[in-house]
């Protein structure tokens, strides 16, 4: 019976999950941005190729 009240560590839990979702969202956003940029590059290059 060492612990009568569980210590309140919920702020750490929130920090942890925020980090998880933050990093994941940033990574997904980077994937999306890179995809868009590449598509744009592809269009430009295909135009150049046709000339």
């Amino acid at each position: 019976m060492l612990f009568q009240n569980t210590i309140d560590t919920s702020s750490y839990m929130i920090a942890g999950y925020s980090i998880f979702f933050g990093v994941t969202i940033i990574y997904l956003f980077s994937l999306y941005t890179r995809w868009r940029n590449l598509l744009r590059d592809l269009e430009t290059l295909e135009e150049l190729e046709d000339k």
Partner: protein
């Protein structure tokens, strides 16, 4: 190439749903751990992201070997995707591990064998990226990348065992507690559900991200080849 295959679209949706469910299970469904409190919930995603990191790590090593055998640049592409995903997810693992350690053992870092090995993997990936950046020729870049992921894939497990051996012979006070506590809180049935579901969900998430990232790699390769062609 530009339209996403419907299987992948379905996988995207499935991943999002699974992630949502896993989050619910971890944050709401699982009971609060009696000793550590809510921060223990971080553990479910800490292990799940480590699992994804590990999948990527193994995939990188294996595709490295396959590239060396086949000399087909498609495999180099896959290897880069694996490294990138593993890099991101081990990063999350390490931070979550640190956040978990802080309130429980009053330290930001425990030099626990698994966390330390994950950090070493991150350093190897950074070295990998720097190595590739310093090489112009795509074929040489791919070959060197493959050799290095192979060398890394063999070295890291040995490093992990060395650290663990080191810790059993020289137990560090904080470390002992943490290595006991990694499995040292008894998981109740509900916790196990959250835990194993997270592992399952993140496996699907890994496959989804991997596939998406490989598609990105293909597009990148196409653009580069076209660039070379047009610039001539």
């Amino acid at each position: 190439m530009k339209t996403k295959p419907s299987a992948l679209k379905a996988l995207d949706i499935a991943s999002l749903i699974l992630l949502a469910v896993a989050t619910y299970l971890a944050l709401v469904f699982a009971p609060t751990e009696r000793v550590m409190g809510d921060v223990q919930r971080v553990f479910y995603f800490h292990v799940a992201t480590a699992w994804v990191g590990l999948l990527g790590f193994v995939a990188a090593g294996v595709t490295g070997i396959i590239y060396l055998r086949t000399q087909d640049l498609k495999w180099d592409l896959v290897e880069q995707a694996a490294v990138e995903i593993s890099l991101v997810f081990f990063f999350i693992t390490i931070i979550l591990g640190s956040i978990w350690a802080r309130p429980i053992w009053n330290t930001w870092w425990t030099w626990d064998p698994r966390l330390t090995s994950a950090s070493i993997v991150e350093l190897i990936y950074l070295a990998y990226l720097m190595l590739r950046q310093g090489i112009e020729d795509p074929d040489r870049r791919a070959r060197f990348g493959a050799v290095y992921t192979l060398v890394g894939a063999i070295s890291v497990p040995i490093t992990f065992l060395s650290i663990r051996l080191f810790r059993t012979i020289h137990p560090v006070v904080i470390g002992n507690e943490s290595s006991a506590a990694e499995g040292g809180f008894a998981m109740t049935g509900d916790m196990k559900i959250a835990f194993f579901f997270a592992l399952f969900a993140f496996t699907i998430i890994f496959i989804d991200l991997f596939w998406n990232r490989i598609r990105l790699g293909h597009l990148q390769q196409k653009v580069e080849q076209l660039k070379l062609k047009v610039m001539d």
